[in-house]
């Protein structure tokens, strides 16, 4: 099997703080790869480097054979992404969010319209095609983001905590859909999650990262065997300890307030 993602000694420093400390791993083409770790471990930072959003401080990386530092656009055409934080435009409709994405990725109009309808049906949002995203629930937004990430036929899809805050039904639905994509279209899946059952069920290969360092890799079964535990959750706790990590907080609420102040009734 060939590797579609190759990462070697990848490092990211924010000032003097080293968020990712020389990680190395590979993801097989057509594989399902779970990147697990407590809050602040460096998962999102690693994904941002793979997806050209952040410049690595050191190390080498290849995505679909291209280097994100020198071949950013080739890399960008290779993947779709669902970010950890929402990234839809709330003031546009579901269709417009997808349409804008299609235009940005140069999908020709006919293909675009057809594919948008297919994808909306797939994530069961066809009847909300022309509703504003601001009126969507968290689960609907997530599904729309997944549809958007798939619109340009990527070879890899990155899912950064895609099921955060979703109810079990939606989570279940989402994963069976992702597995189907992987099986039928051969799309490589790279995801993070805090739900260990999900990772155990879906992932073919797992890497556990903590404090910016990869501390274990293997299949779910291998990690359980290695730690002598009976569930991935316990394997994870055995590997990363039980100390609670703080999630860095954003200034979202302040921002909302300020925007309302300066722009009248906008949400």
């Amino acid at each position: 099997m060939t590797s579609i993602i190759e990462v070697k000694d990848l490092t990211k420093k924010f000032g003097s703080f080293e968020a990712v400390k020389g990680v190395s791993f590979e993801v097989e083409e057509g594989g399902i790869f779970a990147f697990l770790g407590p809050n602040g471990a460096g998962k999102s930072t690693t994904i941002k480097m793979l997806t050209t959003l952040l410049h690595p401080s050191a190390g080498s990386l290849r995505v679909n054979g291209f280097d994100p530092r020198t071949d950013a656009d080739a890399v960008r055409r290779s993947f779709g992404i669902v970010f950890q934080d929402p990234s839809l435009d709330d003031d546009l409709t579901a269709f417009e969010n997808l349409e804008f994405h299609g235009i940005l990725y140069g999908v020709p109009k006919e293909t675009r319209t057809k594919r948008i309808d297919e994808l909306l049906a797939l994530v069961e949002l066809s009847d909300r095609r022309d509703s504003f995203v601001r009126d969507f629930s968290g689960g609907m937004k997530r599904r729309l983001e997944i549809a958007r990430g798939l619109l340009h036929h990527p070879k890899i899809i990155f899912l950064d905590e895609p099921t955060l805050g979703l109810d079990p039904q939606t989570r279940n639905h989402l994963w069976s859909y992702v597995e189907k994509l992987n099986a039928e279209e051969g799309i490589t899946i790279f995801f993070t999650t805090h739900y260990m059952e999900e990772a155990d069920k879906v992932a073919k290969k797992i890497a556990v990262i903590d404090h910016g360092t990869i501390i274990a890799t293997g299949s779910g079964a291998e990690l359980k065997a290695q730690t002598n535990t009976d569930s991935l959750e316990n394997a994870f706790l055995a590997l990363t300890g039980s100390e609670i990590r703080e999630e860095a907080s954003g200034g979202l609420d302040h921002m909302r307030e300020a925007r309302r102040m300066w722009s009248g009734n906008r949400k």
């Binding site: 080739a74 993947f79 300066w262």
Partner: protein, 248 residues
Amino acid sequence: MGGIYVMWKREVLRFLRSPSRIAGSLGQPLLFLVALGYGLGPVFRAAGQGNYLDFLAPGIIGMAIIFTSIFNGMQIIWDRQFGFLKETMVAPVSRLAIMFGRTLGGATVAAAQGALVLIMAVLIGFRPVSWAGIAPALVVMLLVALLFSAVGITVASKLRDMQGFHLIMNLLVMPLFFLSGALFPLSSAPQALLLIARFDPLSYGVDALRYFLTGSAAFGLGLDLLILCAVSAFFLWLGALFFSQIEV
């Protein structure tokens, strides 16, 4: 091309879809036109300066444009916080195209706001010297809007949060407006004030608007256009540079 179009269209759609926002941002210019235009009119006339509403209208159009375009440019801060910026940053489109599309969209919207203020001014008694001056005045509005949208994007590319935004609104936009000669004639202003106004690009925008709408300009149309074009080009370049350096 697709990138420029999409970013432009997004700005225009947002504008068209929020009638209350349009109405809201016309309130302030209307207040200035009525309170100052009518209130100071007699004093202005007594001082032998002519009709104050006629003098004031181009200045208030400039005000609407600078506020709207800088505000639109600063949308980047919200797009960064609310995540949409990331969606554009991972797209296989040059950052230059994204930045340029945003600037054009913001400028289109701000110029439209300026045109609405012009209509409003006419409704309350402003009379342009000639109707033929309207078309070139609209072009000037677009140019001024382009300039300050680029300024907004340049500044916003370096800011991360709302504190910075308030700071810019109060420390940059307010002085730019009040010191531009939008409210008072530069020809009779004290030397020091005139000197400051000469470093304020909005002065030249308002001056060019006065040239087409009232028939008189303090600096002259040639200098106005030269400065507006040069400063726009500079901020488009600087904004593109800063925007390309954003890490999300």
